[in-house]
């Protein structure tokens, strides 16, 4: 619902500049991303260090030519094993979802398949804005350096295992199936969003109220099943022994497109000396939708905005509202002749509010080269505001998990 909300404009709560340590390190071991920043004009914001820090990077990624896609790596092991392990890089860091999903083609380990009480394979049809990932739920020990999630349910995408090799019609009827490197743009998705499980109670209900994401797969075909909350694909951070209440994404600001951009993901909020919540504005989320509100050009889009590192641009509203034409060929991007400067105000469910500036450039020009990190990429998204990865550039964004105390506030929230 669009509610012109006049009384509630930001009192220009300027965000306190964050003191950032400029130690640049390999960040806590384990995640062996070997990306390098070549050139570019990144500055500020990045360079955390500690056992709870891993490096992340915007680069071309495993599918080559990725644009504004943020990657990390993870080490997974057969549950209980310290020798049957594999480090997988090129996982997209996604604050818009929860749960680890790995392409079968990138996986060499025999992980433990989750079964139902009748011994049938459990699989999932997980939805994203641009399609579905289909595949079996398996169990792995997942670690980022010393941070470890033991026996974590994860999704294997594009598996060729018996009974689950082909998505059922009830899954493929939801939209495009994303089951390979080309459709996923990554070796998998590292969902570190605001919820513990990807679905929660809605998938545990045994009735036609079930959300319908989980399947049991006997030889006769996969059918929707109720999946206990504890068995669902889960945000790995929530399984850590400590530092398990959320993450902070730190990416430097970027004044112009660059080949790559390196930053950090810090585990935990208010749990260590390097992840305190202090001075940031906390925007709590609607716990049902995972959204906040945004005011743009005098109109408030209530409960229709979200921060999503997994979206590769700022996707918002439409050509009429923004005053920018969409590109002729790439008509999912905006194509202003000159870069447009805007301001917007985010409003949390708790009423916290602050305005900020952002810019959108010409999508045709910006994507017509090999730059992977583009600070001003945007496109249409009628009635909805998706603060995608460019929003994270130059910010430390705190992502707190539902129900968990994180610093002086309780998740789900975003703070920056």
């Amino acid at each position: 619902m669009i509610r012109p909300l006049s009384a509630r404009l930001a009192n220009s709560l300027l965000l306190p500049a964050l003191a950032c340590t400029l130690l640049f390190s390999g960040c806590g071991g384990g995640a062996s991303t070997s990306t390098t920043t070549s050139g570019g004009s990144g500055s500020g914001g990045s360079g955390a260090s500690g056992a709870n820090v891993v490096s992340v990077a915007v680069n071309a990624g495993p599918s080559n030519f990725g644009t504004d896609l943020l990657y990390a790596s993870v080490t997974i092991c057969v549950p209980g094993s310290t020798s049957q392990c594999q480090t997988i890089d090129g996982l997209q860091v996604d604050t818009g979802s929860s749960g680890l999903r790995i392409l079968a083609s990138a996986l060499t380990l025999p992980l433990t398949q989750q079964m139902d009480s009748s011994g049938n394979t459990i699989a999932e049809c997980e939805e994203f804005a641009d399609g579905e990932t289909w595949g079996p739920v398996q169990v792995a020990d997942v670690s980022f350096g010393t941070e470890k999630a033991a026996s974590l349910p994860i999704q294997i995408i594009g598996s060729t295992a018996a009974n689950v090799a082909t998505p059922p019609a009830s899954c493929s009827n939801l939209g495009p199936i994303e089951d390979d490197l080309n459709s996923l743009e990554a070796n998998g998705i590292l969902g570190v969003g605001n919820f513990i499980q990807d679905c929660g109670e809605a998938c545990a209900i045994s009735s036609n109220q079930n959300a319908g994401l989980y399947y049991t797969c006997p030889t006769t075909g996969c059918v929707v099943t109720a999946e206990a909350v504890n068995n669902q694909v889960t945000n790995p951070v929530a399984f850590f022994a400590t530092d398990n209440n959320g993450v902070i994404l730190q990416l430097p600001s970027l004044s112009a497109p660059a080949a790559t951009l390196s930053g950090s993901m810090i585990f935990g909020i208010g749990t260590e000396s390097n992840n305190a919540l202090s001075g940031q504005t906390v925007y709590t989320l609607d716990p049902n939708t995972g959204n906040i509100s945004t005011t743009f050009k005098g109109t408030t889009y209530t409960d229709a905005a979200f921060l999503d590192s997994g979206s590769n641009g700022i996707y918002f509203l439409d050509a009429t509202t923004t005053g920018m034409p969409v590109c002729t060929d790439l008509n999912f991007l905006y194509c202003p002749t000159a870069t447009q400067n805007f301001s917007a105000t985010n409003i949390g469910a708790n009423g916290a509010t602050a305005s900020f500036n952002f810019s959108i450039g010409n999508g045709d020009t910006l994507t017509n080269n090999t730059d992977s990190a583009i600070p001003i990429l945007g496109g249409p998204n009628p009635q909805t505001i998706d603060w995608g990865l460019p929003f994270f550039f130059g910010r430390n964004v705190y992502v707190a998990i539902n129900g968990k105390t994180a610093g002086s506030a309780t998740g789900p929230y975003w703070a920056y």
Binding site: E127, D130, G175, P176, G200, N208, G310, Y315, D329, N381
Partner: protein
């Protein structure tokens, strides 16, 4: 008005003719929703096991369905009796094959084309001469609209399909 919350529907208050249709069996046409006859609304409702509420507006009729698992679909029917647009919102997407009917294959093809043009992840935005689709959201929240530009009744704006 932008969204139909799972908790409270912002109902347009004027011209409200609400009819809660019980789940009795109406004939189920093979042609499904988008671009189809108004009678195809019932096949969608049955598939969703949804309640149905019909609202007459100035230039069209809105058939709003709400499924037991909290997915809301609105189908927009022209005075000529054709479904010219559909919109959805919920913790999951509705069955798009059912909702888009004969346009589903075009939707899938166009979505793949979008990905092949630049390596992107995020909302699907399709603007083809005979089909517009916007699919957005994130885990636990999905929202979108689809319509056939040529079938929009006079003086109806695309923004109304939500």
């Amino acid at each position: 008005m932008r969204r139909f919350s799972t908790r409270s529907f912002p109902l347009q208050t004027v011209f409200t003719l609400s009819v809660l249709v019980a789940a009795f069996a109406l004939p189920r046409p093979l042609s499904a929703s988008l671009g189809g006859d108004a009678t195809s609304v019932e096949s969608d409702r049955a598939k969703m096991q949804a309640s149905l509420q019909t609202t007459n507006k100035d230039r069209y009729t809105v058939h709003e369905m709400h499924s037991p698992n909290n997915v809301t679909v609105r189908e927009f029917v022209s005075p000529a009796g054709k479904v010219f647009g559909v919109a959805w919102q919920g913790p999951t997407r509705p069955d798009m094959q059912q909702l888009l009917g004969s346009y589903f294959d075009q939707f899938i093809q166009a979505a793949h084309t979008q990905k092949s043009q630049t390596k992107s992840r995020g909302p699907i935005s399709i603007n083809e001469p005979g089909l517009v689709v916007h699919s957005s959201g994130h885990q636990r929240y999905f929202v979108g609209q689809a319509y056939i530009p040529q079938m929009l009744p006079a003086n109806v704006q695309a923004q109304e399909i939500q």
